[in-house]
């Protein structure tokens, strides 16, 4: 366990060394959220609420969705792909740790860094500029916290799956990009799932993606109430469990399939 915590720490320090450009990142993120704010204001065009969300809730939703993304987002799929292509994965596999576990921990180190140095100051700055509504209910914050941890796990699991696919495809930049697009759209980052037509919502209900962004953002904006929150958290937890299975299976095959292309 110690070595995994150490890996989180090292990645955190690595990110810390490059922290200056995160400040400019916050500025640009704010511009980004701002542009969405105007877009959604124009979309609402005086309407009180759409699908149960007021325009302020909608703006908060977008702001939180993007700030939470800084936490759960990582590039471990791309890192795995690069290590496979460069042959480094051979060395990684003989080291005394679980390779996939280690990658997840590195992602977590990055996530914690961005949460502290990007999301938190970002949320404060954004709330000065735009009319956002942060709840004062402590319980909501706690539930949101639990929810984004699940988001991180599910997003990392999907990244691991995509990364492992490199063992079979050898070059999977296309798949990585496709995955990113699918997550942006189906996770609820761009549009709350409840805005989609019903048939599309039904499809998304059997996919894991809305657990990444829609659920934490809805909890934060209090778009979910009472029983809905519990159900949403269970939904996330179940997907965490389900996704373990394909990762383990693919990983077994991948190790047999391994071809070192260099190194």
């Amino acid at each position: 366990m110690d070595k995994y915590i150490e890996m989180i720490r090292i990645r955190f320090l690595m990110m810390l060394a490059y922290r200056t450009n995160y400040y400019s990142g916050i500025l640009i993120y704010s511009i980004n959220i701002g542009a969405y704010y105007f877009l959604w204001t124009a979309i609402y065009g005086g309407k009180e609420n759409i699908q149960g969300l007021s325009v302020i809730q909608m703006t908060t939703y977008i702001a939180v969705a993007w700030m939470a993304r800084a936490f759960y987002f990582n590039n471990i799929d791309r890192e795995i792909a690069t290590e496979i292509k460069e042959g480094k994965v051979a060395i990684e596999l003989i080291r005394p740790y679980n390779y996939l576990g280690m990658k997840t921990m590195q992602g977590l180190g990055e996530g914690i860094f961005r949460l502290l140095f990007f999301s938190v100051p970002g949320m404060v700055i954004v709330s000065f500029i735009f009319p956002l509504n942060y709840t004062s209910n402590l319980l909501t914050w706690v539930l949101f916290g639990i929810s984004i941890i699940f988001s991180f796990i599910i997003n990392s699991q999907i990244n691991l799956l995509t990364g492992i696919m490199t063992f079979f495809l050898f070059n999977n930049d296309g798949l990585i990009r496709a995955k990113r697009v699918v997550i942006d759209l189906f996770s609820g980052l761009l549009l709350p799932i409840s805005f989609y037509p019903l048939w599309a919502q039904n499809i998304m209900n059997v996919l894991p993606f809305q657990a990444i962004s829609y659920i934490p953002s809805m909890i934060f904006t209090e778009g979910f109430q009472g029983k809905e929150i519990i159900e949403a958290l269970i939904y996330q937890f179940v997907w965490v469990l389900i996704l373990i299975l394909p990762i383990q299976i693919l990983w077994l095959f991948a190790k047999k399939q391994l071809i070192i292309q260099g190194g």
Partner: protein, 261 residues
């Protein structure tokens, strides 16, 4: 002439490497289509809840998006430099580039071409014709010519912004998150700028002039006369920003210290 033959040689090599991993190439083209579909879906879903966006109809917004895809496709096919910092500066690849007798930016661009992105031109034109026929637009004799000029102008605007951002890497070799973020801002040129407030409109017009990639030039074809001046400014902005970008790049190269490996 020499540059042209270098270009064809690089393209030839590029085709060979891409054909090596055909499955991936197919997935990549598919993921591009998916990416374009995402934004279309966004517009369609949004217009499921509203009729007008600041006085613009659904099909006008779709048309703007279709137009945007064309210069954007040219940009992503030929100016794929957004990992420049990591790849060339942090890893010291720039050393290799600088020992060769071709302009460094040209080489970097050639090494990073992604020709499959050109499929976006087709998608864009299809979307424009779809939206255009819904709106009852007709193609006038000069439209194709104006279209080409505006598309090149737009692509140059887009390219210049990213060349300038890449040039920053010469001064600070830290990993930067600015590029993906600016890339996100780039998407706002696809929507009519009159939905934003003055500050953002100013930003999108003069500082990060993404509006010249989508809404301004597209409004020429939509017959939105109030934006005609901006539409015709598109090639001017493209040329101006591109010149600035090249100057900045050239200064940057002299500041390059070589990170080694």
């Amino acid at each position: 002439m020499f540059y042209l033959s270098m270009f064809t040689q690089y393209v030839g090599q590029y085709m060979k490497t891409r054909m090596q991993y055909r499955a991936d190439l197919v997935v990549e083209i598919f993921s591009d289509l998916l990416f374009q579909a995402v934004n279309l879906i966004f517009i369609l879903v949004v217009f499921g809840h509203t009729q007008l966006l600041s006085g613009w109809q659904r099909d006008e917004i779709i048309f703007i998006y279709g137009f945007f895809l064309v210069p954007y496709a040219l940009f992503s096919a030929f100016f794929n430099i957004w990992d420049f910092n990591d790849r060339y500066i942090v890893k010291g690849e720039m050393d290799r580039i600088l020992t060769r007798p071709i302009h460094s930016l040209f080489q970097v661009i050639l090494e990073r071409i992604e020709l499959e992105s050109l499929f976006g031109v087709v998608t864009g034109i299809v979307i424009m014709f779809y939206a255009g026929s819904n709106l009852g637009l007709t193609v006038r004799w000069f439209d194709p010519l104006v279209f080409i000029v505006l598309v090149i102008g737009g692509a140059l605007v887009y390219a210049s912004i990213f060349i300038m951002l890449a040039s920053i890497g010469f001064w600070s070799d830290a990993r930067t998150s600015v590029m993906p973020m600016v890339y996100n801002i780039g998407n706002y040129g696809r929507y009519p700028v009159d939905i934003y407030n003055k500050a953002i409109r100013f930003l999108l017009t003069w500082i990060l002039p993404f509006a010249f990639v989508g809404v301004y030039p597209a409004s020429f074809f939509l017959g939105r006369t109030e934006w005609y001046i901006y539409a015709l400014l598109t090639p001017v902005m493209g040329a101006l920003f591109f010149t600035l970008a090249i100057i900045l790049w050239n200064i940057g190269v002299t500041k390059y210290r070589g990170a080694g490996n």
